[in-house]
């Protein structure tokens, strides 16, 4: 029988599950490094959070009586990225809550992939940050000796119970050190990743390499990361020039905290970013500027998460003013 189809009759080869799969691949080295640095707890957290995301997605598919949407691979990304933004000793049960909230509130509520206005992983994180602010600001130093034989005590705390806090092994992140104690961590530590912090934010070098892989393979756009890095470097550079005793250098700003992970993997979540090309620049600039402002003047040491969420919320407005100008618009206007 003859098939009736509509043009174009040929199609590009990249499909959505494929893109998502490659993002997962690109995240695996970062996960591996996190496990190497923080040991068993990190591994368990990665598994629990990802599992929680996937199961939640399945649950809501069932509730909405839809076909499962697991095979589009996006729930894995949400899970892994969410885990990578949590502190290593984060209680596993809280991780599970974060995963549930990320998918339930951040994604399924809006009808699943493609419709969520906010980055689901960050929605999950913002929720647990507001719900459990103490646990999420308790950091453990990297590369502890017994990390492969022992869990960090707080990891295994009983569900819904207060985590056991062990002051002895807590350590502030480079950003907190800077904000609250005015000490700056060395570039090498930040760049190669031997500082405390969330699972996936420690090595900016590794993050850049993995991100570059995705960009070069055409799996994600380059504009948003470029805009974020550029604007945050310029703005923090300005402050640094004004007063370098009070404000840290742009290099420190770029390599510390979650900026790099956020810029390369989270702000680039296509669904919650603008679809217009100019809009991507505006979006990136907004994130860069907000991050630096929150870091330097806000109540919290890190601002990238809130910056991305706020920029996500502004996407409809950004898109409204950055629609592409159709071909031939100029001459059209001249004629009138």
């Amino acid at each position: 029988m003859i098939e009736l189809r509509t043009s174009p009759h040929v199609k590009g080869t990249l499909s959505l599950p494929q893109i998502m799969r490659h993002v997962v691949y690109a995240l695996l080295p970062i996960c591996a490094f996190a496990v190497y640095q923080f040991g068993l707890s990190a591994l368990a957290l990665l598994i629990v959070v990802t599992l929680s995301c996937v199961l939640t997605e399945l649950l809501f598919n069932r509730l909405a009586s839809k076909n499962t949407t697991i095979h589009d691979n996006s729930a894995y990304i949400t899970g892994i990225l969410l885990a990578l933004t949590l502190p290593p000793g984060f209680p596993l049960w809280m991780g599970a809550v974060a995963g549930f909230v990320a998918i339930a509130l951040g994604k399924s509520l809006f009808g699943g992939i493609g419709f969520n206005p906010f980055n689901p992983a960050l929605m999950g994180r913002a929720f647990v940050q507001a719900a459990f602010p103490v646990a999420i600001t308790s950091w453990t130093p990297a590369a502890m000796n017994d990390r492969f034989s022992q869990f960090i005590p707080s990891s295994l705390s009983f569900p819904f119970a207060l985590p056991s806090v062990n002051d002895a092994i807590s350590e502030a992140t480079p950003l907190a050190l800077h904000k609250f104690e005015a000490t700056t961590t060395s570039f090498n530590h930040l760049f190669f990743g031997f500082s405390s912090g969330s699972l996936g934010e420690t090595s900016s070098l590794l993050i850049m390499l993995c991100g570059a892989y995705l960009i070069l393979r055409g799996m994600m756009g380059w504009r948003i990361p470029a805009a974020i890095l550029l604007s945050s470097a310029v703005l923090s550079g300005l402050f640094y020039l004004v007063d370098n005793s009070q404000y840290p250098s742009p290099i420190f700003m770029l390599t510390s905290g979650g900026l790099m992970l956020g810029a390369l993997f989270m702000a680039t979540d296509p669904v919650s970013a603008p679809v217009t090309l100019k809009g991507m620049w505006v979006f990136g600039f907004l994130i860069g500027i907000l991050t630096i402002i929150i870091r330097l003047f806000g109540g919290l040491p890190e601002g990238i998460m809130y910056a991305i969420l706020l920029a996500n919320a502004s996407v409809p407005l950004i898109e409204a003013v950055t629609q592409p100008r159709k071909f031939g618009w100029l001459s059209n206007r001249d004629e009138k």
């Binding site: 509130l105 507001a130 719900a131 646990a135 207060l162």
Partner: protein
């Protein structure tokens, strides 16, 4: 007016406000205090009672005066009447307990602008007899209080592990701080509404015929 006024008082006069026309869950009126003061059960209860008091007093008075008030100045008059009772409530609460007063903050005074009260004045009190108005106001007030308690209990339980100040889960409970923060208010109310929607859907699906709903049918054909 082609449709005649109805002065009969039925059970619905009272019950409408409690469930079918619940001011919070159904009509989404007076949302500010609903969200702002429900971080504990005590606050929710106090706010509910205060609002109910103002609602009943002001709507009865307005109903009494309804024939005398010229329509050009009716809003101004209603508001002055409502504000009077709010001020009275305000001072009475201060006289009873300053702690409670501080916990409720400015929201006692903001009862004046609770859309529910003015809305009732406009839509009901100005058209009905005092007794009917009072019964309806009581129902509305009860519905409002119940909604506040729905929110207050969830928020206090999760956010503090307690109810009415009594610890429920013990000292080891990890409170979900977000619940008593502003986002928690939105989330809890939103979740209640989601729950109601879900129950409605359930009911509808059970009774539904095989007919498909057309809204977005074209879209789901294409994109899902």
């Amino acid at each position: 007016m082609p449709i005649k006024e109805d002065h009969s008082i039925t059970a619905d006069t009272f019950l409408d406000g409690v469930w079918k026309d619940n001011p919070v869950f159904v009509m989404l009126l007076g949302m500010c205090p609903v969200l702002a003061v429900t971080n504990s059960v005590v606050n929710a209860l106090a706010m509910g009672i205060a609002t109910t008091f103002v609602l009943i007093c002001s709507s009865v008075l307005i109903s009494l005066l309804r024939k005398l008030i010229p329509k050009e100045v009716r809003i101004a008059t209603y508001i002055v009447i409502i504000a009077t009772f709010v001020t009275i409530t305000d001072y009475v609460i201060q006289a009873i307990s300053l702690e409670l007063y501080n916990a409720l903050g400015a929201f006692i005074q903001l009862i004046v602008v609770n859309c529910m009260i003015l809305g009732r004045a406009e839509a009901y009190a100005s058209k009905n007899k005092p007794l009917k108005t009072m019964i309806n106001g009581l129902g509305m007030g009860l519905g409002f209080t119940i909604a506040l308690l729905c929110l207050g209990s969830v928020r206090e339980l999760l956010g503090n592990g307690s109810l009415l100040g009594f610890s429920i889960f013990g000292a080891q409970f990890q409170p979900w701080v977000v619940m008593i923060l502003p986002p928690g208010g939105f989330f809890v109310l939103g979740s209640w509404l989601l729950l109601f929607n879900w129950i409605e859907e359930r009911k509808k699906n059970n009774t539904a015929t095989s007919k498909v709903s057309h809204a977005g049918a074209a879209a789901s054909k294409g994109a899902s």
